[in-house]
């Protein structure tokens, strides 16, 4: 692999072009959000914070941001313990039904999101849950569960179960032995699971289109509805902030994984 053959140079150049194709659209939004014109020309003729003002000075955007953040935090707080319990049960259960139940819990990743949205909308319209914050949190919890399951499940598979059994044989009950022996060692995957649930809820648009509205409209829903009419530069400012937030969260995952790996 050390020889720099002609073929390898061509391959390298192709890959660089593909990576540019991946990165440029994500990054181009950042300078555009600081533009001081309505027209999204590049490079911007002059820079200003105009579109950030247009976001922060508009109560409708702020309300939408608050709804999204509340729903995302709550969904992460609910889905993580539920997902950890389920992952633990799948790892320790021996009954044949466990395999099927695991597939059942992975369904939110397999069913096309539009069908999930229509289904959730149906249930909520029967129960009077449409346009409520509680309904939104519950839907984001459901969509986030598989991420916790995948993240924590992979970690538990390589975890040495006998450690927990030792703690129990020394007189600790099951819950305490899990909390003091197992949990600290799978902490990194629990944190990344929670972060994934949060990011998924932050980004979720399709279900929100159906079940969030009125005063409980999410940020992405408002962005989507706005974009159907016009390319509003305010969305460039929101996009930049969303991308920055996501980047910070992914960093948390990377750091927690690395410190987890260092200990093991």
């Amino acid at each position: 692999m050390n020889k720099l053959s002609f073929g390898r140079i061509v391959l390298g150049a192709t890959v660089v072009l593909i990576l540019l194709f991946l990165m440029v659209p994500v990054l181009i939004v950042v300078p555009l959000s600081f533009s001081d014109t309505r027209f999204m020309t590049f490079p911007p003729p002059a820079y200003s914070l105009r579109w950030y003002h247009s976001f922060f000075d508009n109560p409708a955007w702020i309300d939408a941001a608050r709804t999204t953040l509340t729903a995302s935090v709550c969904a992460a707080l609910i889905a993580t313990p539920l997902g950890v319990c389920a992952a633990y049960a799948i790892q320790n259960g021996t009954h044949w039904i466990m395999r099927y139940l695991r597939t059942l819990l992975m369904l939110p990743l397999m069913v096309p999101i539009i069908i999930v949205a229509v289904g959730v909308f149906f249930v909520y319209s029967q129960a009077g849950y449409v346009n409520t914050l509680g309904g939104l949190i519950l839907a984001d919890t459901m969509l986030g569960l598989p991420y916790v399951l995948i993240s924590v499940g992979a970690d538990l598979r390589t975890f040495d179960r006998t450690q927990e059994m030792v703690a129990r044989s020394l007189g600790m009950n099951r819950f305490r032995s899990f909390m003091t022996v197992t949990l600290p060692q799978i902490k990194a995957s629990v944190i990344s699971g929670a972060v994934f649930v949060f990011i998924q809820a932050l980004d979720e648009t399709v279900v929100a289109l159906f079940v969030s509205g009125g005063t409980n409209q999410t940020l992405t829903r408002r962005m989507f509805v706005t974009l159907r009419d016009e390319i509003d530069p305010t969305i460039a400012a929101i996009s930049t902030m969303l991308t920055a937030l996501t980047l910070c969260l992914v960093m948390i995952v990377v750091v927690s994984r690395r410190s987890g790996a260092a200990r093991a």
Partner: protein, 288 residues
């Protein structure tokens, strides 16, 4: 499970299993109420309207509905092929680099992967609009002399979908290729195989599990894609997901929406089932 009541080990195992089931219950309850029940209800709606009827399905094979399904499959195949063609060299290159550099390449794949789908669709709307960067670059290079329509059509939809789904192709490909020992290709070369021959006979077959996982994931995601075709398609190319949404939101026609949903679900289920015979389901979904 043939052990008798008196066998203490079997009894312990049964009690253990019961505890595990109880631990799973809250998560299961959420999935059942918000997903399994509505799916069952949708299936029921599609065949029952004041009595058993197949009218909703008969309509699937006529004009507009059939066109929608064919268009969705066509776009999904195009997008899947393009992501495979672009994704394979990236994964191959990343897998052949030393760890530090391959982490850098993967980082550039993962950052867009975690960026909001809506944000990326917006970015493409800006780039591809008549006064956008792509049109300007094309004019500056002399390829065209006036702006061409790039957004709000199938072309824009395909570009944006490829961009959004490419990481879903690269990540499973990379994870399969990373497990291929490099000395296998070296052995092939030392036995006199040309680089192309070694690649075709040694590397490519060993990377097929990644190809299967990536193709399955991208194709299935394409079939149900909603946000990008809706915003980028310009209302001309109607995909399956848009038919479902319109039937519910605009026409309040649950019968039609549910029949389309059931057909889409059966397609997706069949693809996942077929793929799970080749690559474990967990591996396919792991990238998501």
């Amino acid at each position: 499970m043939q052990a008798t009541e008196s066998d203490p080990a079997a009894r312990h195992q049964r009690r253990e299993d019961r505890t595990m089931l109880i631990l799973m219950t809250p998560a299961l309850l959420v999935i059942v109420v918000l997903l399994v029940v509505p799916l069952a209800w949708l299936s029921w709606q599609s065949i029952w309207h004041d009595g058993f009827t197949l009218e909703n399905y008969r309509r699937m094979f006529t004009g507009a509905y059939l066109d929608t399904f064919l268009l969705t499959f066509k776009l999904s195949i195009i997008v899947t092929v393009i992501t495979l063609v672009l994704g394979y060299p990236v994964a191959y290159f990343a897998a052949s680099l030393p760890p530090k550099l391959s982490a850098l390449v993967l980082g550039m794949v993962i950052l867009p992967f975690w960026t909001s789908v809506l944000v990326r669709t917006y970015a493409w709307l800006v780039l591809l609009q008549r006064t956008g960067l792509v049109n300007k670059a094309l004019i500056a290079s002399g390829l065209i002399d006036r702006p061409v329509q790039l957004a709000y059509n199938q072309f824009g939809t395909i570009i944006a979908m490829v961009h959004i789904l490419l990481p879903f192709m690269v990540l499973p490909l990379y994870s399969a290729m990373q497990k291929i020992p490099p000395n296998l290709s070296q052995a092939g070369a030392s036995l006199g195989g040309s680089p192309l021959h070694v690649f075709m006979r040694v590397f490519l077959p060993l990377s097929m599990s990644g190809v299967f996982a990536g193709v399955t994931l991208v194709f299935v995601l394409c079939l149900g894609f909603y946000i990008t075709p809706e915003l980028m398609g310009g209302g001309k190319s109607i995909m399956v997901s848009m038919v479902v949404s319109r039937n519910v939101e605009i026409y309040n026609s649950w019968g039609a929406a549910s029949a389309v949903s059931v057909v889409l679900l059966i397609c997706v289920g069949a693809i996942f089932y077929a793929a799970s015979r080749v690559v474990p389901l967990e591996k396919t979904l792991g990238a998501k």
